[in-house]
């Protein structure tokens, strides 16, 4: 079984630029999550999709972050414009509803300079 695919693996951008991350979950996993993991901290949920619908985006900074999962399969997370404090690893995870556990991708390490 293929794992959760994410790209790019690394990204360096200047502040105020935009960036997009892509995630392809495990085939058949209806639930997809985007997490932000700042160095030395635990993952923080940004948004949760069930198929192509948003279940929880209460912690997503909507003034600069957006995410979509148009066909209920792969997903894109965008930041525009980026701030220095957005430097983090962005993890995508998927699960079969209602769980029981997340399978994480390798993440995208974003550095904003």
């Amino acid at each position: 079984e293929a794992g959760v695919a994410q790209s790019p693996r690394y990204k360096i951008i200047e502040k105020r630029q935009s960036v997009a991350f892509w995630c392809n979950p495990i085939s058949g996993h209806a639930t997809l999550y985007w997490y932000q993991q700042i160095l030395g901290q635990g993952p923080k949920l940004l948004i949760q999709f069930q198929n192509n619908g948003v279940v929880d985006d209460s912690q997503l900074p909507k003034d600069r972050f957006s995410a979509e999962r148009l066909k209920g399969v792969d997903s894109t997370l965008k930041i525009q414009p980026a701030k220095l404090e957005d430097s983090a690893v962005y993890l995508c995870a998927s699960s079969l509803p209602p769980g029981p556990f997340y399978t994480f991708g390798s993440g995208t390490r974003l550095t904003v300079v």
Partner: protein, 113 residues
């Protein structure tokens, strides 16, 4: 909102020594999960606990869920260098739209050979 705390933040042990990390939630949990993240890697699911007082073992790892379902612990017997990494607990809490797991900040384990 729900908060999940872990202690200690860091632990350095000599190979062969035991290790314990504690997880505490500000609210009662329906279940709790544990993940391990190797340096430079992504979180990998270890186990889920759902019952009050539940104890589960995986080889040298022992997981326990507190009677009040507000705390949990992970104990590693006779640590090995392969145990190096950050151990996260994640408690199931109630998000605005539904349920999602809240991760603790993690305990980083170093094992000296």
């Amino acid at each position: 909102g729900q908060q999940v705390m872990q202690i200690p933040q860091y632990q350095h042990v000599q190979e062969g020594e035991d290790f314990t990390t504690y997880c505490n939630s500000s609210t009662t949990l329906s279940n709790i999960q544990w993940y391990k993240q190797r340096p430079g890697g992504h979180p990998v699911f270890l186990i889920q606990l759902v019952k009050s007082g539940e104890v589960k073992k995986q080889k040298r790892l022992t997981f326990q869920f507190g009677e009040a379902k507000k705390n949990s612990s992970l104990h590693i017997t006779a640590t090995q260098t392969t145990d190096v990494g950050t151990y996260f607990c994640a408690g199931l809490g109630m998000g605005y739209y539904g349920q999602n797991f809240v991760f603790g900040p993690g305990t980083r384990l170093s094992v000296l050979p």
